[in-house]
């Protein structure tokens, strides 16, 4: 069930350049199941900024009743969010959207997780849940530069993890696709989240393979009512999918990237 709750900040810390890890407590956590789902967060108590911010769930902990989101400070809304201290409350709507299909990865099979920048966080919960199901997880995480890198060790706890940076300041120099090629990484299913050019490159490189992509788009309502975040469906002028409520995860080929 989707709910709205003033969740309580358990902790917040800076984990990379302009990148924050925010842990929230509340009953809403019990509704959170699928990796790749997101929450819609209202950062300001006032009408400025007016809209909520869609932020991916990075970690769901039912026992502790806590969830973690990782976000990058970009504008006014996220800047306000960085001010939140333990004990403060945050207005959260969620969980929203359809996440990564776990069942697409056969037990004992190999899942390749590919993340780019602030698209990395939802893959963490995915890695955790896949590993628990006996899926062999390999992660390739791309960042612009060393200062932006986060969660390398956390991902390594679930399987072999490669990091690439655009400038070569950490890990391999280049893009995630370069790493996949150089290491000849094999997979039964590929899951990815990151900038659209990266998703497009993966979809083109692995046609007709089980590739699942999490999309990002500017959203209004987050629940499918405002039609702000639609994308085209291949082969049709008028058919569409909404990133917020039909996605944000789609199988490659399901929507036009």
């Amino acid at each position: 069930m989707i709910g709205r709750e003033r969740m309580t900040v358990a902790s917040q810390r800076l984990i990379a350049e302009r990148t924050y890890e925010l842990t929230l407590s509340g009953r809403l956590v019990q509704e959170m199941r699928q990796p790749g789902q997101f929450v819609h967060v209202k950062a300001a108590a006032s009408a400025d900024p007016l809209l909520r911010r869609p932020l991916s769930l990075c970690h769901i902990d039912h026992k502790q009743g806590q969830c973690t989101i990782i976000y990058r400070q970009e504008g006014k809304g996220t800047a306000l969010l960085t001010q939140k201290q333990p004990g403060d409350t945050v207005d959260v709507l969620g969980p929203l959207g359809n996440g990564f299909p776990l069942e697409a990865a056969p037990a004992g099979g190999r899942a390749l997780l590919v993340g780019g920048g602030i698209g990395v966080p939802p893959l963490y919960e995915l890695a955790k849940q896949l590993a628990k199901r006996g899926v062999k997880v390999v992660s390739v995480l791309g960042f612009q530069t060393k200062a932006a890198v986060f969660y390398e060790e956390e991902f390594a706890a679930f399987g072999k993890t490669y990091v690439a940076t655009d400038d070569g300041s950490h890990g391999a120099c280049g893009r995630v696709t370069d790493v996949i090629e150089a290491r000849s990484l094999e997979f039964d299913v590929l899951y990815a989240c990151g900038p659209k050019p990266m998703l497009r490159a993966l979809a083109e490189r692995f046609p007709n393979r089980p590739v699942y992509l999490s999309l990002e788009e500017r959203m209004g309502c987050g629940v499918g009512a405002c039609f702000a975040c639609v994308c085209h469906v291949p082969g049709s002028e008028t058919a569409y999918k909404k990133v917020c409520s039909d996605g944000p995860v789609f199988r490659a080929g399901e929507v036009v990237l």
Binding site: R4, K42, A47, D48, L50, R52, G222, G224, C226, E237
Partner: protein, 313 residues
């Protein structure tokens, strides 16, 4: 006595609160949050004859206290509306106000005639004020003679009362309202969004793929209030007011300006529960202000001899 009840042409409403067109889809999304039967009415998203995809993304951008949108009247088209969306809404005890749009006069007339016959459609909202489409929309809503002629033609074929949604993007909204009233409109809804633009400082280009978009949210409320204040004194048909409503206090402000019912738009995106919250909050606010019925408040800001509002507290 239901102190929130209001009467408008074609609409006997249990309360004056309805979600605004384009901000509530066709109700399905919000039905997962609450029983839609609590609403006074629902203004469903604009219907055109054929399915429309609308504009490229990004379609929304934020502004202080508001947002710009350029959706472009995306909708599944008249047939799907009649076969799927409207029948689905019949499960709720709530009148539907069908917003209709088109690129040509013929399209408006055809959609109006067909959709006005749906059993749960109690009124039409003629959308001549969408700023986000190249053909139709606002092109019909900025020249009084053109708007009046379209109103007259739609009135001829509609089986239910016709409300015309006014654009604030005009120099003389009173002249527009009078022309539409004379053409036979049963009511007015106002205001649609104001045309605006934001530019990305990193790229130097407009944020919206459409370039311009319609501004909505609390930022536009004073303009809506002023326009309703002016128009309600110049016409005798009722007004459904909209523009930045977020609270029960905002609702009363619209009534005082001259509205007979109100629609809540952008606030649904911020808080999916905003409509039922406002409906629940209104009785206590009326108590606090010593008001028996909300209908007493219509036009109180300008009515001569109207009693000033005294606060009991």
């Amino acid at each position: 006595m239901n102190r929130l009840a209001v009467e408008l042409p074609g609409l006997s409403l249990k309360n004056p609160i309805m979600p605004a067109s384009g901000c509530f889809g066709f109700g399905r999304e919000y039905a997962q949050f609450y029983d839609l039967s609590v609403l006074g009415a629902i203004m469903i998203k604009a219907t055109t004859k054929e399915p429309r995809f609308g504009n490229p993304t990004p379609r929304v951008a934020e502004t202080p206290g508001g947002m710009l949108n350029a959706i472009g009247l995306q909708n599944p088209g008249l047939d799907k509306m009649l076969e799927e969306e409207l029948p689905w809404l019949e499960q709720f005890d709530v009148p539907i106000i069908a917003n209709i749009a088109g690129s040509t006069v013929e399209e408006y007339v055809e959609v109006a005639e067909a959709i006005s016959k749906a059993p749960n459609v109690h009124a039409l909202e003629l959308n001549i004020s969408c700023p986000n489409v190249k053909k139709g929309g606002i092109a019909f809503g900025t020249v009084p003679d053109v708007a009046a002629e379209l109103t007259r033609l739609v009135k001829e074929v509609s089986a239910v009362p016709v409300y015309v949604k006014l654009s604030p993007n005009v120099t003389d909204i009173v002249a527009m309202a009078k022309a539409i009233e004379q053409a036979g409109a049963d009511g007015l809804t106002m205001i649609n969004t104001l045309v605006g633009m934001r530019i990305d400082v990193k790229t130097g280009r407009p944020i919206l793929a459409n370039g311009t978009g319609g501004l909505s949210g609390p930022a536009v409320k004073p303009i809506a209030i002023r326009m309703i204040y002016e128009v309600s004194q110049a016409v005798s048909i009722p007004i459904i007011g909209m523009g930045g409503i977020q609270t029960a206090e905002d609702v009363l402000e619209f009534f005082y300006a001259g509205a007979s019912a109100v629609a809540v738009g952008t606030a649904n995106f911020v808080d999916p529960f905003v409509c039922p919250t406002i409906i629940a909050d209104l009785p206590a606010l009326l108590d606090e202000l010593g008001i028996d019925r909300i209908s007493e408040c219509i036009g109180r800001s300008w009515k001569t001899g109207a009693h000033a509002v005294h606060c009991r507290a």
